[in-house]
């Protein structure tokens, strides 16, 4: 296993109280594999990724438990100095909003080259050549000229390519992409996702794709972890989950996608709202919104039940859910 997150817990201390953003997350990624982490805003999918990358704002964030094993080492036990060597070189992150992730007053060549200067001790000239090579790699036309331009001179899709180039620069073993195409238009999204998938294959990288888009997930993922209120509620190979979800929340998400044969009918909608992280309901966090909820759901937190081959579900009634 390239990366293994074990029972990770993260909380944020705020003026109004403690928000429990991540409450015991377990997931793993192999080299060459794509794990999609699916969830709505506030589900903890990004916070988990930030903890893995070591870019969580602490304070107010605090990791209160768990392990993050990367190539066998627990990253949480590393000193900040050692952690920095891992970050960027061995694992890299692609963010949603490329415009605010790039430095507006440096040329893209400088920003790409910086990776090589800092981590590899290259000269500025060699780093510039590397930057051009990378821009070619992510298929930015006229890379030699454009390397001198600033981020605002690129379109959204091109900027996201630069982010990908930057993440790939040092050929990391793991890439975490946090909503990499959410800000892009559909036709450009397809270009960028294709590029990412191709590069992943070529470098045999592990990829954690964080998204809320069930369509994107179906297109690229090998496995899916669905998060709700800071927990993974279901984890399964991609084909299985779309065929038959083993958690009512996953089922609700899939059912609320408008389908052709439902035209003119009411869409299925999960009732209610996601919980406040400062006040997560007792028992199963999904119980107030769940159509299958029983008394036990309101009192006992469901453990992760086996729900088939390589499948787990945090639902007391995962079997019933699986069988429709």
């Amino acid at each position: 296993m390239l990366l293994e997150v074990r029972d990770l817990q993260v909380e944020f201390r705020t003026r109004d109280g403690v928000a429990k953003a991540v409450n015991g997350v377990n997931y793993g990624v192999e080299a060459g594999e794509t794990l999609a982490v699916l969830g709505e805003s506030g589900s903890g999918k990004s916070v988990t990724a930030q903890a893995v990358m070591g870019i969580l704002d602490m304070p107010p964030g605090r990791i209160t438990g768990g392990e993050i094993l990367f190539q066998g080492r627990d990253l949480l036990k590393l000193k900040e100095e050692e952690r920095r060597k891992v970050r960027g070189a061995e694992m890299a992150m692609i963010f949603q909003d490329a415009l605010s992730s790039l430095n507006p007053v440096l040329t893209v060549g400088d920003q790409l080259g910086e990776m090589f200067v800092v981590h590899r001790g290259m000269s500025r000239k060699d780093a510039r050549a590397k930057a051009v090579e990378l821009m070619d790699r992510v298929r930015i036309p006229a890379a030699r000229e454009r390397v001198r331009q600033y981020p605002h001179q690129f379109s959204g899709g091109m900027r996201q390519r630069i982010m990908i180039a930057m993440a790939l620069a040092l050929e990391p073993a793991l890439i975490i992409a946090d909503e990499p195409t959410t800000a892009l238009d559909v036709t450009v999204q397809a270009q960028v996702m294709d590029l990412l998938a191709e590069l992943q294959r070529e470098y045999h990288m592990g990829l954690i794709l964080i998204t809320h888009d069930l369509g994107v997930v179906a297109d690229v993922a090998d496995r899916i972890a669905v998060m709700y209120a800071g927990r993974i509620v279901e984890q399964a190979p991609v084909h299985d989950i779309y065929k038959a979800p083993a958690h009512p929340y996953t089922r609700g998400l899939l059912d609320s996608i408008p389908r052709l044969d439902q035209k003119g009918q009411e869409l299925y909608a999960i009732k209610g709202l996601p919980p406040n992280l400062m006040n997560i309901p007792p028992g199963c966090a999904f119980n107030p919104r769940c159509p299958m909820a029983q008394d036990v759901c309101r009192t006992d937190v469901p453990p992760l039940y086996e729900a088939g081959d390589q499948r787990v579900s945090a639902c007391h009634f995962s079997r019933e859910c699986l069988n429709g």
Partner: protein
């Protein structure tokens, strides 16, 4: 039976680009909307899709008179509203209301929900006498599925989905006939999107509304729309009934757009044919000659650079009345097999 309520023709909005501070010489224009025609019939939902920068939001703003068109006309029940002013304009505006995309910035944080939803009555006092307003606002809250007791709360006390309900209630306050909704669900979480779509569907029947529904999410537009128009770089490239557009697209751009949408079905992954467009949308300050899509189109020929294709039923479909015979602005329109 089919009764047009809005007729848009030759709608143009250019934003001038100027140079210099004292003598503001015009050096060009952002051609945000550049000749758009469509009709909205009574009781129907017209979906408008397109990528960012295609001009769909500018069209929306012109429909509710937040922007004045550079040219063209918008007829509401036969009357050109772009020529109106003063009292006559105010009367028309009451009947065409808007729901905005971002429920976080389109509600004044310092006003209570009651004041936000009731504000339209300040402008159109004839709709509700002063003493009756609170009751009307409570009714509206109830209609959009919010507790009427929340009337004195502030926007920050609500979630995104609830705020969008407040925005919809405000849009309904004057009992308009047309609602222009610009990306009403794109800022919402998946599980909440469906709730708001269902609400809009229900309200349409209840209040006999006509919708112009602008969005970039093609599956949601399909679900809610009777007819769909596809925009590209300031022009409508294809328009027709929902099944005509989604199942029988004839414009290459529509075909590419539909094929690029990720399908939530991993089984379809292998045997899906996708058209991946190269490059980006050109800048609206520097629009290609002829057909605007030709710089990204795989069918483009010399003719496309010389001659802008009109939006009409392509002649090649002749007298055929099949689903591919609908308005499409392409010289080489072709049905997909």
């Amino acid at each position: 039976m089919v009764e047009p309520i809005l007729e848009v023709s030759g709608l143009v909005k250019h934003y001038p680009l100027t140079q210099g501070i004292l003598l503001r010489k015009q050096v060009g224009a952002v051609r945000a909307v550049d000749g758009v025609d469509f009709t909205l019939n009574k009781g129907e939902t017209l979906g408008i899709v397109g990528e960012s920068g295609c001009g769909k939001s500018t069209v929306a703003k012109m429909l509710v008179n937040l922007e004045r068109p550079t040219a063209g006309s918008i007829k509401y029940k036969g009357e050109d509203i772009t020529k109106l002013s003063g009292r006559a304009l105010k009367a028309v505006r009451r009947n065409i209301q808007m729901v905005f995309q971002d429920p976080y910035t389109s509600l004044n944080p310092r006003m209570t929900v009651g004041d936000i939803i009731g504000e339209p009555y300040d402008i159109h006092p004839e709709v509700a006498p002063k003493g009756d307003r609170r009751r009307k606002v409570r009714d509206l809250l109830d209609v959009v599925g919010l507790n009427p007791e929340y009337i004195n709360r502030y926007p920050h006390q609500f979630s995104g989905g609830q705020r969008q309900r407040i925005g919809i209630a405000r849009g309904l306050a004057l009992r308009p006939e047309v609602i222009v909704a610009d990306e009403p669900v794109s800022a919402l979480d998946v599980s909440v999107q469906a709730q708001v779509i269902n609400l809009m569907d229900r309200l349409q029947n209840e209040f006999d509304l006509s919708y112009v529904f602008i969005a970039h999410d093609l599956s949601i537009v399909r679900h809610i729309s009777d007819r769909v128009g596809v925009m590209y770089l300031g022009r409508m490239v294809e328009i027709g009934r929902d099944t005509e557009i989604y199942d029988h697209p004839t414009h290459p751009y529509t075909q590419a757009l539909l094929s690029a949408v990720p399908v939530p079905d991993p089984e379809a992954r292998e045997h899906r044919e996708r058209i991946i467009l190269t490059g980006d949308v050109p800048s609206p300050t520097n629009v290609p000659s002829g057909c605007r899509f030709r710089t990204r189109c795989w069918k483009a020929q010399e003719r496309c650079a010389l001659e802008a294709p009109p939006l009409a039923v392509p002649s090649r479909f002749g007298e055929a009345s099949g689903p591919e015979a609908h308005d499409c602005a392409c010289h080489f329109a072709e049905a997909v097999s």
